[in-house]
Subunit: 485 residues, 2 copies
Amino acid sequence: MARQDGYEKEFVKEITPQSVDYSQWYIDVIQKTEMMDYAPVKGCMAIRPFGFAIWERIQELLGARIKETGHENAYFPLFIPQGLLQKEAEHVEGFAPEVAWVTKGGDEVLAEPLVVRPTSEAIICDFYSRWIQSWRDLPLLINQWCNVVRWEKSTRPFLRTSEFLWQEGHTCHRTEAEAEEETLRMLEVYRDFIESDMAIPVIAGRKTEQEKFAGALRTYTVEALMSDGKALQAGTSHNLGQHFAKVFDITFLDQDGQLKHVWQTSWGVSTRLIGALIMVHGDDRGLKLPPRMAPIQAVIVPIISKQAREAVLAAAGALAEQLKGIVHVKLDAREEYSPGWKYNEWEMKGVPVRIELGPRDLEKNQAVLVRRDSGAKEAVPLGELPVRLPLLLEEIQRDMFAAALAFREANTHTGSDYRHFAEVMENERGFYLAAWCGREECELKAKNDTKATIRCIPFNVKAESDRCLVCGEKAAETVYFARSY
Amino acid sequence: MARQDGYEKEFVKEITPQSVDYSQWYIDVIQKTEMMDYAPVKGCMAIRPFGFAIWERIQELLGARIKETGHENAYFPLFIPQGLLQKEAEHVEGFAPEVAWVTKGGDEVLAEPLVVRPTSEAIICDFYSRWIQSWRDLPLLINQWCNVVRWEKSTRPFLRTSEFLWQEGHTCHRTEAEAEEETLRMLEVYRDFIESDMAIPVIAGRKTEQEKFAGALRTYTVEALMSDGKALQAGTSHNLGQHFAKVFDITFLDQDGQLKHVWQTSWGVSTRLIGALIMVHGDDRGLKLPPRMAPIQAVIVPIISKQAREAVLAAAGALAEQLKGIVHVKLDAREEYSPGWKYNEWEMKGVPVRIELGPRDLEKNQAVLVRRDSGAKEAVPLGELPVRLPLLLEEIQRDMFAAALAFREANTHTGSDYRHFAEVMENERGFYLAAWCGREECELKAKNDTKATIRCIPFNVKAESDRCLVCGEKAAETVYFARSY
């Protein structure tokens, strides 16, 4: 019953190996798995059902964590009047060069142009200035899931697109300490979600002044290492201080009868997390999804022969029924594709476990489980599958995190010799842990010389040397350098 | 412990009665319950957490039905190049006057202006023309939840806003019959969701040529009656025929070896459903939410006296714990508000059941359940609450649907006398069931004379007269007229 028309061969095309061209490997994977397609507008894309299913997993799992920490969802307008964006000086300077402008509505030229939100601080602060009156209205803890637009010159699917999807939390607090606590709480929510559910180890820390969010007092970040040795900023959490509160006049009457400005935070992760998922775990055969992120956790492939067709299909159907509600399982009973073709397809799509079930397995009353991450096979009695499969998925989840962590550790360098640093950044990449004097001058010199930036100032990590990697002066800070997406 | 600072009095303001000014009643309800707030951009709004929680219920309940019928979610770009929108002639004629135009990105004036999607047929068809090659790719069943923008001249929160949230399904099929089947299947999904979960009775039918979607072959609709006697189009499902397939060249190689154009459908509901929920069920005390749509289904209000404070709070906490996982329950243990103030607030917010628990109830080992819809009270032994409360919620759900249906039936008129019809539309409103000759001329005359439009041509309903209500000629069609939102 295998397809005879050449369609099969056409479909199972080669993915460019990572070692040949990493960028092309990435594009091949996302296009051949039908995760996305390029839009007729430069830098924009459609997220196809297979890619969007991963975003839905992120929304479900991270969304639950955001609600559990006391936040409610809301929706704010897409359009920001020019005047509002311009209120906070650093903010407008950071975002104005990369916004899309609406200048006409219907046939009418607008008196004041509108910005398509690149981020929503300005429009949200305008609302908050009316919603907050009293200390009783605090803390105000709101999140929104939405699309944003940044007119990027150089784009790459999922990693940097002109339009992308994200969540942005925006909170107001009575005191500076509460705002700082919230900023760090949400950073920890991101760290835990990305490590536990996405199996991606991250380094949490603070951004330098140079790299912080336009308008923030302090920006915190979680940084992940892709398998090509480049870092990716996976999520950020900003302590906005009172910068926005002062220009948008967000005040509250405190219990002591004084009118005070609120303290604010904002934090977000976006569809670029999907890019991270691909680049941390993927290999030359395609995607490799950690079980908690996989829309399909196990796929049953019946091995159909002419003699045993009915029996195998019936057993496969019964098995799918039995596993439903225990794991996300799919039965691939298509008869126009061969088992081998299906193995390739589901491996490429990163399904964590393949369940093979053929006439010989039926005789032995077993199925064969094949791990996508390691290729390891095990035969399991059919009756034990509902117990064994969830355990195996947990093992895979753990092993995939461990593998990514081992890769990061093997690719984290350290030292105090600038030439060594430059060589590593040129040839091996990865993270480079070093001391830094804290001067922007040294930060920019490193960037110009090596394309590496300071990814973050980590918590509780200390470089061995106490001399700035760049200038050799006495150094106060420990930082991670890396080239990045 | 009741608040002493006048804040309480200030909060529990009057809502303008429906009989005095229905429009003002609507605005009062949505603002005082903090469902929304007006944006600094005309016709736009923020959906505040309380309003957004209702949209999340719609997404959850309707979203599950959309998936159960075989559709997958995806995400398509916000921006549509002008040239794509212009491809389908009727479509551009319908939408061009009401779109927002992006003409600048960063500092650069765009060579081709972009439209902010008013609906996504044009951009999606562009993708589909590449995704579909073979009959094996059909049916293609995709849905997206997103924001859309229509530059409306006259707006009203939730009902008609320049930006709104919706879902839009876009499907492709091999045959005309399959497309028609899908169009009607999704209309039925809408009908069942709106009636079963939102407790809003609707009339399903076909739109006239005059009222159909710009670019569709046939548009079907579900129409609801608001409590002021005006109709509201609650959802539409379009059979697009091959109009878009031909101009966007969406073809497939069929099993017979022929290259054919696909047959398409699209269908959507939006945040205006929230407006319908308010206007069908609300009363002069505020919102009235059907239990299946209520983010909070029951609120526990402990009646705290100085003597019994600890015991009542402990019992209320234990009750909340006991009911969690059975119904969506909230314990309102705030001590700075009196029980009476809380009753007003939760009634205004439409929570279906209030659970009163005071010292006397504790003595009797009971709580008092108060229905928001009828005001009926019943004392229930604490031990029976986990069984009684879900049943009561089901009763309320049923009774609210029955009440809305009774209202609609009482406000559905019929006849064949045009003057009677005009009088009804002027004074009583409601639906008017009548025969229609099928000519646009009569449809427009009725609209000009009475502001009533043909809401739909219902399935399986026949007017008594066989003469056109407007011209008196022999009539082929039975229709519902109404003024509408």
